[in-house]
């Protein structure tokens, strides 16, 4: 933390040192002017509401009774963190994230390999892979909810030996499976496109050399292709994991949080928008934000890749 206390004037002088010419000063000004609108719009909807969430989270504040607003310090956080419901919901959210991302990574990689190799019908494949990616998550949720429905769906009759009257949304485990299927179907194409970009960067010469040296297909995959794609895999896992941790749409549409399928996003939404408990909801929002940061840090650490380096900054 010692760097924070370093004297500010010195840092400023250092920053100013290279821009002696008027040309570079002008470039500096133009650059800042061009990014200013983007910064403004991005902060408008994130920084201020987030600060407001931080502020509201230390109050007991319900929109239904605004005059009863009362300062409770960390009371909301204590309530949330000591409530078994919070931990149960966090657990199920982590389960959604880990299972969907793991399956998507494997299937997405296979799809990327196929797309990388295919020459014939390339356009058709790439067009169709963009369709699940573009379809509204709510539509995907409906499609799979009706597909799993025993009244009007087809899944029960397609699984050999399945009870035709089986209700997928009656218990936690099958309902979670159905939600995961919808989530995986919709987002695997995104994963595979990110991995395809990484696959294109693996040098053919290196693969050829490994082949000449007698490496098997399996060895080439694990020793040449995957290590060279580490940055691309990390970006794909990072983006998808954070997205999966925020899972909301599919749960809302398919079960509305019934039979213990609720995720942390859904719980937060229920507190703020449905029950108007802005104080408690804000505390949950802050906790959700912190857990997203934690997951991001863990993934970056796990892959030991500098993100800026990955983008050739």
């Amino acid at each position: 933390m010692s760097t924070v206390t370093a004297p500010a004037p010195e840092a400023k002088r250092k920053g100013n040192a290279p821009e002696t010419s008027s040309r570079s000063r002008a470039e500096n000004r133009l650059g800042q002017k061009l990014v200013a609108p983007a910064i403004f719009v991005m902060l408008l909807v994130t920084a201020f509401p987030m600060l407001r969430a931080l502020y509201l989270s230390v109050f007991n504040y319900a929109l239904t009774a605004p005059e009863d607003k009362e300062f409770v310090g960390f009371g909301n956080y204590v309530t949330a963190l000591t409530d078994p419901l919070f931990w149960k919901v966090t657990g199920i959210t982590v389960l959604y994230m880990v299972v969907t991302v793991a399956i998507e990574l494997v299937i997405g990689f296979i799809f990327a390999m196929v797309m990388h190799r295919v020459i014939f019908a390339r356009g058709v494949i790439r067009t169709s892979i963009l369709i699940p990616y573009g379809i509204i998550t709510v539509v995907s949720g409906f499609a799979w909810q009706f597909a799993f429905s025993y009244q009007n769906g087809f899944v029960n009759s397609w699984i050999p030996g399945m009870d035709l009257q089986f209700n997928w949304f009656g218990e936690t485990t099958p309902a979670v499976v159905a939600i995961m299927v919808s989530e995986i179907w919709k987002t695997t194409p995104f994963m595979s496109l990110l991995l395809l970009a990484g696959l294109a960067q693996v040098s053919e010469d290196m693969l050829e050399a490994a082949k000449v040296d007698g490496a098997t297909w399996w060895q080439r995959l694990w020793k040449v292709i995957l290590p060279n794609m580490r940055a691309a895999i990390m970006v794909a896992v990072l983006f998808r994991a954070l997205d999966a941790y925020r899972i909301f749409d599919n749960i809302f549409v398919m079960t509305a949080g019934a039979v213990n399928t609720e995720s942390i996003s859904f719980l937060t939404y229920r507190q703020t928008i449905e029950q108007f408990q802005l104080g408690m909801g804000s505390a949950l929002s802050v906790l959700l934000f912190l857990s997203v940061l934690l997951i991001a840090a863990l993934i970056v650490k796990l892959f030991r890749v500098d993100l800026a380096q990955a983008r050739q900054e």
């Binding site: 991005m42 994130t46 509201l56 190799r117 409906f142 009007n152 009759s157 179907w185 802005l278």
Partner: protein, 276 residues
């Protein structure tokens, strides 16, 4: 052997992508009475077909028509504004040296990771205070904020690949600077801008959390929210085939965009000039 594997893989990808789409289309042709009585199976059984009835019902529904109109309007405006702002920022990031460049990129990344749900509470409160609740701008603004990071990253990566020397080369060959920009830089940059625009449009079209939290009536409610609130006469038995018809209608714009622009994106990513 290798070819066979690739062919099998292609078939699997096509099945993966298109089977659920085929299912929702098939469902949209089951009649509403068949759905109420229960009609399991992939295709409508004999006598359970509804023809175009569900589609006419959906398109006759005023709420649904308004939702389509809202979604198209809001998504297009958000995409246009977001891409313009992102192009300016990405040009600066790719081409200019200025203080705070790293800050912009880091902030964009942080916002891309932001849990959207954690903002809707405070936003809901703010929008109600300043009168943006249940209006088009009330959705356009958050859509812009959340699509800017992706647009800026995509575009700055793209702009960095453009051989900007070509602009000077054209000027040396006698082109005015406007001609050099118009005839050389714009065609090279266009695929990147298209890619960013499509990603932005998809995000706005797909959004659900803002759509249900920041609107309350049909004056701004977008399609995903309208579909989820559409319960029909019996709340315990959703009108599956009617919803399916609505879902198919809401997917048509996405399919049109993919069909028109897929080539452009791929061409943009593979054209020799860009690789330089």
């Amino acid at each position: 052997m290798r070819k066979l594997g690739t062919a099998v893989g292609c078939v699997l990808i096509l099945l993966w992508c298109l089977l659920p789409v085929a299912w929702i289309i098939s469902l949209s042709f089951k009649s509403q009475t068949a759905i109420t009585n229960g009609s399991p199976g992939f295709l409508p059984k004999d006598g359970d077909g509804a023809g175009w009835q569900n589609y006419t019902d959906v398109l006759d529904n005023e709420q649904f028509r308004r939702a389509i109109f809202n979604s198209i309007g809001i998504s297009l405006i958000a995409t246009l504004l977001s891409v313009i702002i992102a192009t300016l920022a990405a040009y600066a990031i790719a081409r200019l040296e200025f203080k705070g460049k790293k800050f912009v990129l880091t902030m964009a990344l942080a916002i891309a990771m932001f849990p959207v749900v954690s903002l809707v509470g405070p936003l809901f409160d703010m929008w109600r205070t300043i009168g943006l609740y249940d209006t088009w701008p009330g959705l356009i603004i958050p859509y812009m904020s959340f699509t800017l990071p992706l647009a800026i990253w995509t575009l700055s990566a793209f702009f960095r690949e453009i051989p900007w020397e070509l602009e000077q080369a054209a000027q040396v060959d006698g082109a005015t600077s406007w001609q050099a920009f118009r005839k050389v830089i714009v065609p090279l940059a266009a695929p990147g801008v298209f890619t960013a625009a499509i990603l932005t449009f998809f995000f706005a079209w797909n959004d659900f959390v803002f759509g249900i939290s920041l609107t309350s009536t049909e004056s701004a409610r977008p399609i995903p929210a309208a579909l989820s609130f559409f319960v029909g006469a019996d709340p315990f038995n959703r009108p599956a085939s009617l919803l399916a018809a609505g879902a198919v209608v809401s997917t048509i714009p996405i399919i049109i965009i993919v069909l028109i622009f897929q080539r452009k994106i791929v061409a943009g990513l593979t054209s020799g000039a860009v690789k330089g």
